[in-house]
């Protein structure tokens, strides 16, 4: 009995942890509308011209969402991105991630 309760509690805590960071469904059209600020450094379609700023075009949406979340929580430290991410909602981050992921750019390399 005790074991079942503990196991249930453990499973519930995992489920809550997953829910806390679960990515909302992103809308690339809304993401494009929100991306004008980003375009200054990352390029209009996420293919940045300056080597200092990463290419985002074609990047995995969940990676981009996670990066923005980490900037917002200050877990990932960057003076420029920390400021921008602080102004974004979770839905906006998912929209931006969906927009950049849908663009042509980065690829896997074997």
């Amino acid at each position: 009995m005790m074991r079942t309760i503990l196991l249930t509690a453990l499973l519930a805590s995992f489920a809550c942890g997953a829910n806390a960071t679960a990515m909302p469904k992103g809308d690339p059209v809304k993401g494009k509308a929100d991306s004008t600020t980003c375009a200054a450094c990352h390029g209009e379609d996420g293919n940045s011209k300056s080597a200092e700023f990463p290419r985002l075009a074609g990047q995995h949406a969940d990676y981009l969402y996670n990066a923005l979340s980490q900037y917002k929580s200050k877990q990932r430290k960057n003076a420029i991105m920390g400021g921008f991410a602080a102004t974004l909602s979770r839905q906006q981050m998912a929209d931006l991630a969906a927009f950049y992921a849908s663009q042509k750019g980065l690829d896997h390399k074997y």
């Binding site: 080597a51 200092e52 290419r55 990047q59 980490q70 980065l106 390399k109 074997y110």
Partner: protein, 142 residues
């Protein structure tokens, strides 16, 4: 050469010492001047190197390919996921800017970006390794 030999050698006779001394002093002054010119050049080089951190290391894509062997386990297969602390796909690196990849590796090493696997990997890399690996991923996509 003993003192006697020195005194008996017409070229080294004490009467010639002032001349030799002047010659040595001239040579010494020239050397000092050259040395100060050299140190000025070195100082300039050091300052320019400090002002241009982005141009610090030129990467070799061929060397980078061999060094990127450990990276391919996660970054080479499409859709590989990080499982902890959050679940998401590892980033695509093909065609990414080299300078950004180097900056990312350095921030993992410095603890400014959090990922245990990447921190462990970046800690093993020298600046030259980072530049080579970055050059490999930045070069043509396949």
């Amino acid at each position: 050469m003993s003192l006697n030999q020195t005194l008996n050698n017409p070229a080294r006779h004490p009467a010639t010492w002032p001349r030799t001394l002047t010659k040595n002093m001239k040579s010494f002054t020239n050397q000092t001047r050259q040395l100060s010119q050299l140190s000025a050049t070195l100082l300039l080089l050091a300052i320019s190197a400090f002002c241009l951190p982005a141009a610090a290391q030129a990467g070799d894509p061929a060397a980078g390919k061999a060094k990127a062997f450990a990276c391919t386990g996660c970054h080479g297969l499409g859709g590989t996921k990080v499982a902890y602390p959050d679940v998401y796909k590892v980033p695509k690196l093909g065609g990414q800017h080299a300078a950004y990849i180097v900056a990312a590796l350095k921030s993992y090493k410095a603890g400014e970006r959090f990922n245990e696997t990447m921190k462990a990997q970046a800690t093993l890399l020298s600046e030259k390794d980072m530049a080579d690996i970055a050059a490999y991923y930045a070069a043509d996509k396949k």
